[in-house]
């Protein structure tokens, strides 16, 4: 028995990154005819580089001060970007649509109060029996709002409270893979009639020393000059973290057509897997994933957004994998997204889906993101864009963002 799968459209986008807010500003910077310039900060988290988030006016999406006070920068960014996506899709402030909107958020954790941590570390340093002092310090230093701002599922909770999204609400955890699984699951649910409208995405604030520590535990952070991701191939590798808030409205074609919403793009294919990251294992996983989608990709030039974060040997393996597509008659036109945006972790895959949807809807692909020579020009209007997403620690995935055979957002 085979069931016709429902087509899944991208009908709303909310995007804020280190390069700016909204699709127009990203489009302008990525198609100017010149190599785009990354926004890199070398002081905030020195000796590490970081792509900091641009200023956002949270009042426009989170009008109540009482709501704002319950969140930290990470939840502000997510709730803000989610609001932009709901607005863009024409769902915001429509109670009927909001009550039928499902949500899958890819979340990390909220900010720790680094001053509180510092105070406590100093107090218990060298103390023989630190327990009672630790307890007393936690009692006096922690605040209820801080705990709620740290809870991973409270980004979704705040989206419900602030924007009124009230159908199902799930929060996936797990770095880059969480972003992939969130969209992969939403697509599968729409394809099989388990919901018509999904708000999906995530946010990451990179300028946080607590997260820097987590990433640096295995010395995965890049400490050199900023440059093309491909310039790290001959090195031990390393990643630069980046901030982003990225949410999408995914919707069944039927639902979108019934309410007169046009798509940016469609997503029918997201495949993912994992391995324990022995050398060569990620490449093997990617080869297997490609076999599952190969019949959907014609020969010839294929625009690719690579999520390569710079960790070795995955950087090398992902590049080799993309180059190997030539063996299938495919000419990959690669853009290394983290050259410009850094690794935006849970937001990485949502950001890449948004960038691909933007390119599809505007009928052109982006200028090369660097001058490494790896990234070739592409002059046509892309029918499909391949997304390659490998987590810094775990998880490999491939996805195809395609041009639906209807009038698109932005068409006159």
């Amino acid at each position: 028995m085979s069931i016709e799968k429902t087509e899944v459209w991208v009908t709303g986008i909310g995007l804020v990154t280190s390069l700016g807010e909204g699709l127009d500003t990203h489009w302008a910077q990525l198609t100017s005819g010149k190599t785009p310039v990354a926004s890199v900060d070398s002081e905030d988290q020195a000796p590490y580089l970081v792509h900091k988030i641009v200023d956002i006016s949270i009042d426009t999406q989170i009008p109540k001060r009482s709501d704002q006070r319950q969140m930290g920068p990470w939840q502000h960014l997510g709730v803000y970007a989610a609001g932009l996506a709901l607005d863009d899709a024409g769902i915001a402030h429509n109670p009927e649509l909001l009550s039928a909107t499902n949500m899958i958020v890819a979340a990390g954790g909220g900010e720790r109060d680094l001053d509180v941590d510092t105070t406590i570390m100093e107090k218990i340093d060298g103390v023989e029996n630190p327990g009672p002092i630790l307890n007393a310090s936690l009692n006096t230093e922690l605040r209820p709002t801080l705990f709620l701002a740290q809870l991973s599922n409270l980004m979704a909770g705040n989206i419900s409270i602030v924007h009124g999204v009230t159908d199902s609400s799930r929060t996936f955890m797990g770095e880059e893979s969480a972003g992939v699984s969130a969209i992969e699951t939403a697509v599968a649910q729409i394809q099989h009639g388990q919901g018509e409208v999904f708000l999906v995405g995530g946010a990451y604030i990179a300028e946080r020393a607590d997260m820097m520590m987590l990433m640096e535990f295995d010395h995965t952070l890049w400490q050199g000059e900023h440059g093309s991701i491909w310039s790290r191939e001959d090195t031990a590798g390393g990643m630069v973290m980046g901030s982003a808030g990225a949410f999408l409205i995914l919707e069944s074609r039927q639902s979108a057509e019934a309410r007169g919403a046009k798509p940016y793009a469609r997503i029918n294919t997201v495949v993912s897997n994992r391995c324990n990251r022995q050398p060569g294992a990620s490449r093997e996983v990617a080869d297997g994933l490609f076999q599952r989608i190969a019949d959907q990709i014609p020969t010839g030039p294929l625009p690719v957004l690579s999520g390569c974060c710079g960790v070795q040997p995955q950087l090398q393996e992902e590049h080799e994998f993309l180059d190997s597509l030539t063996g299938h008659g495919i000419d990959p036109i690669i853009r290394g997204v983290s050259t410009l945006f850094g690794n935006t972790l849970e937001a990485q895959f949502p950001v890449n889906v948004i960038l691909a949807s933007l390119a599809i809807s505007r009928g052109a692909f982006f200028d090369p993101f660097d001058t490494s020579g790896v990234e070739k020009e592409f002059s046509g209007s892309p029918d499909r864009i391949l997304l390659s997403t490998w987590g810094h620690w775990r998880g490999e995935s491939l996805a195809l963002i395609e041009k639906p055979d209807v009038a698109l957002r932005g068409d006159q």
């Binding site: 936690l138 209820p144 159908d167 955890m173 797990g174 020393a209 640096e216 535990f217 994992r274 775990r394």
Partner: protein
Amino acid sequence: MSHSVKDHRGRPVVVVTGIGIITSLGEGKEDNWRNLTAGVSGIRKISRFPTEGLRTQIAGTIDWQGQDRYCAPLHSISLAKKSAAEAIEQSGIGSRGLFPGPLFVANSPAETNWDQRMVVYHGQAGAGTTGYERLLKNVRAGNFARYYSLFQFASIAEHLADEFGTRGQPISLTTACASGATSVQLGVEAIRRGDTDAALCVGTDGGICEEMVVRFNLLSALSTQNDDPQGASKPFSKARDGFVMAEGSATLVLESYEGAKARGAKILGVVRGAGERADTFHRTRSTPDGSAIIDTINRSMDDAGMSPAEIDCINAHGTSTPENDKMEYLALNAALGSELDSTPISSNKSMLGHTLSAAGTIEAAVSLLTIQAGVIPPTINCNEQDPNILMDVVPNVKRVQAVNSVMSNSFGFGGQNVCLIFSAEPA
């Protein structure tokens, strides 16, 4: 007559073929069931860390001999491995280290705790500096690769995927105190889509440390009845004053009915339906009219194709907080109407405490054991029931009664509401 492998909406029927459980009452179904039906409490004074100065000093921790130095994600992984191994063995599915389906793990966010933070702080490279500058200097100079693999948010699920050889990328999820129920929902949805014939749904929480206790104390969510640990969790009682934190894990092996019958598996129960509705009212409280919870319960019955009269018993969320128990009653009363009068409702948390991310899975497991045994575990510590909660809460003593179906409620901070319905295998 053979029963249909499709449900009332033409979707694959989803069944349970394996159950595993570990709580403060013991390891495995046998010990847990014996203690749960005998009305034993697993709550005790916390001995894992000094509790001097903490408002709450009791919990349902799980500690055992020869345990490594406490580390939250490692503890959650250990608990989950035990419950998953028990469930997989019972189901007899797959082969050792090769589970033929995806993994859905409900767990608390993995966090670096104070113990590990101070280990890093005491490195030499950062001497003379303080705070995160010092931590980062020590990290750059040191070898903390183990912390890297433990404190990623994907850590717990990835370690379990390695152990059990589940298919594809595992999903780590949190919906706060509804997480365990969400893991079951995700498994049900995957099987109903036909994506898989089997799914491994795990809830695990081994996260009791100083900071967690203080955090929940700050929200005034915890019982402070430290003098009587075993009597502190008293859902639906007049004197209830908060929940008691606890640890545990449970795993369900879900399969399509068709797949399970084809391989001759013993069917432990059917997942009849699930319902969900996010609340918009407040970060830690339900809409006062209960509408989101009411909707959640109604949607679960609608999904199951069942009426209130077909619900034999309810496994309550029943946290023992003044707010939850009042709202749960209000919502059940509205959703089930007069049928609630003849429907016993029992809170496992009276004995187990609140196992947070694992609670939904543990209570799903207990719901299935209830159906199998025809025995409803009691709500203990019910010496004076709240006069405003007019339900049959199975006070203090188990009830022997045929049970064909159980509704299991889970409500979490952030407006997360999930309701699951289980029933016996069609005769």
